[in-house]
Amino acid sequence: MVKLSVNGLLVEVPEGTTILEAARKLNFKIPVLCHHDDLCVAGNCRVCVVEQLGGKALLAACATPVAEGMQILTNSLKVRTARKHVIELLLSEHNADCTKCYKNGNCELQDLSNEFSVGDHIFLDLIYHKEYTIDRFSPAIQKDDSKCIRCQRCVRTCEQLQGVNALSVAFKGDQQKISTFFDHSMAEVICTNCGQCINRCPTGALVERTYLDEVWDAILDPELHVVVQTAPAVRVGLGEDLGLEPGERVTGKMVATLKRLGFNAVLDTDFTADLTIMEEGTELLTRLKKALVDKDESVSLPMTTSCSPGWVKFIEHTFPEYLPNVSTCKSPQQMFGALAKTYYAKARNLDPKKIVTVSVMPCTAKKYEADRPEMRSSGYKDVDYVLTTRELARMIRQAGIDFQLMKEDRFDKLMGSSSGAAVIFGATGGVMEAALRTAYELVTGREVPFEKLNITPVRGFEGIRQASVKIEGCLDEWKFLEGVELKCAVAHGLSNARELMQGVKDGKINVHFIEVMACPGGCLGGGGQPIPTNQVIREKRAAAIYAEDMSLAIRKSHENPEVLQLYRDFLGEPLGHLSHELLHTHYKERERY
């Protein structure tokens, strides 16, 4: 343990603790910009400088470990002057067009300049001397260099959390910028559109491409029938952007609000999550049968999930040799879109041309996914517009609705019912758990042998988790699986995904089924979720998701009555002809830069 004093108060902390953490322990808040709890130390913004009595230079509190007997001042004259200078310098290089900025009101630089009441314009405006580009080529992410303060949070996110390295630092001195491979647009590079950089950008330099106006236009057009679907993780995140604490479940309020916004039908992506389990579970069992019974060596195992569009684009770029291993199932969002303009249109007697499908997702990669040319199997663009959780919150504010006072309501019928298994799609390990609940029961006729159906070994936040279920007492048609230990692995965050796939490639990881979610914590930590994000917030959202699962009467995908009805009335059977046409897709190899 190391003893030190901060502003005269003594504190004892373990060796290796930073000054920032020690000060937090004493309830002294030191401002930060480049520091983020999820990321490695950078120490480059210098907003967090503190004075060490007797020391020559100031120390970056986020980057300096404590030392015995240190006497730290966090608010001395030297510190105040330096801090104010640093903030003024950042502002002089920043396009402080705050009132017109998408991040107005949720900007860490804005908060800091407010706190330190800067704005004296001590220094010259540098921003007007330079030419900046705003990259709007990507359908998911917008990058505005004029707002960038070079804290490199995005670079560290892309490198460290995601292992993608789409963003990196280029040039030096006054020319230094955050750039991509040869300064190509975000649409042309290895970027997976996961949006984790957006979640950590302290300013408006990285934001989602927004489609709010398009959605309002559709809603307000009486000719159009606008259907909205909401992803599982939205209901445990939305509240945070509307004044509620992290971890509050707002499903009912969200549904009621969406109806009030004017959507013609408020439906649930959970419905197609259940459907995904039916299709993907069957696909897995079919692959296993081919491998184990037919001894077909062309079968690609392990099979990986395909619900996370960030993951899909990642594997297309980085492990294209494993594309046959990716489940051909579309993501729940795209299954929904395809069905909305076929099955739903038919049942409601609507012209699919007049249907607009909007999805609310915790995700920015979904915006890209909806734009893929493959995603038009209904004959139209299956999903017209994708909004993030944050955009929905903005819509609600625009409509003048006091979200907290809303009474709860239920999803509309036909594609609105959900099982608990679908809800947990929002957490890492959830798809695996949902698939196991269904597959095990399909094969054995009995429930998975876990208390209250909670398959806890696949839950949690460890980067890569492996688990196995021994299949015993199979029904006759599945006898070939008798005694088989079904092995599975789960990864979240693309760095972990890379490690997992490398393990598979090197033969170190031998499993049948792999779930990957591109974002840390799964969709609940998605790139479209409310900002800020950190481990504590993600854990609260996860707890909410599992509570939502427990609160539902139906907790297994194959018991969702509307899914059964869909097969009965429209699709026939899982992996049937129509399923193939509407619910399955293919992938393509992409460049590695």
Partner: protein, 386 residues
Amino acid sequence: MRNIPVKRVDLIFEKVTCKEIFLKTLELKPEEIIQSVIESGLKGRGGAGFPTGLKWQFAAREKSNEKYIVCNADEGEPGTFKDREILDEVPEKVFCGMAIASRAIGAKVGYIYLRGEYKFLVPKLEARLNEFHKLMKSVGHDFKILLRLGSGAYICGEESALFESIEGKRGEPRNKPPYPTKAGLFNKPTCINNVETLVYTVMIQKYGAAHFKDLGTKDSRGSKVFSVSGDTPKAGIYELELGMSVQEFVDVFGDGDTKTVQVGGAAGFCVPRKRFDETIIGFEGVPTGGSMKLFNSSRSMYNVLHNYLDFFTEESCGQCTPCRVGCQQLLKGIEAVKKGEKSSKYLDELVKLAATMKLAAKCGLGQSVGNAFSSIVENFKEEIIY
């Protein structure tokens, strides 16, 4: 205070038999080698002046199977060109210094990080390295030296940015602590020394610590190689005993009209005529990595400062705010004052900013921009404004 007139010394370029000296050090225990360097009072000749013996001692005390010696030959400070000459004239002495250091701290691999612009030295260095490796083999010392070239970034002369560069990453300074002796190149204990420093360690082994210590002053022991340039009829490289005043230096090297001497390059200090007498060139006064630039009355100090700031604005790595934006503000700031767009009072704000840069920048580059800025602005305010 001992006053030492300008006196030439011949240690660095003296031709010696490295094998003989190295064999002598092989008989010493590592602690004894370190002790002799500590006793000599040798401080780093790159400019920062950290006691070399202590640095070796810190590195020696670290427990690790993998340690490195790095020779910083990225000589990038404007007005410094002595390392080039040393590497050209007596490369084997540099290698020998690295070998002595390797013996002292227990390293098996050394790197020379050579300034990119000195590429013309590579064939010669490689040939001499071949001979050196044969020598190491013959004396049974397990040590090899690898040559790495910079690509022209000034920041890569900063030790931790230099490590990043050798490791193949973008040359950006790291947070300290940990210091290189604990976690340097490839995160292993590393001893990084300037070219000239390493050669002095050889001469200390040859002549003994006392011989070196007798030269110079209490704070600045020994001699130093100076790169003399600017308005002088005697531009060139001179090894001089430390301890002389700027006046004594100017008396010998000036052109009779010296207005100011910039000691230590763009990152150093401007010494105006009125302070020539009282300013000692050394760690008690103005330290220098070797650069001595003389300016006579025909020079505009605005242009001089503008040139330095232009240099820093481009050569900042861009990582930390005080340096990246601060340099631009200082540059644009003096331009605005010159043009009359800002009042002369704005210079006071800029001096405060320079002070913040010194306090809050992440590495030595950003911290030292304020040296040149403040010393030029304080002494030549009229030239900046009018």
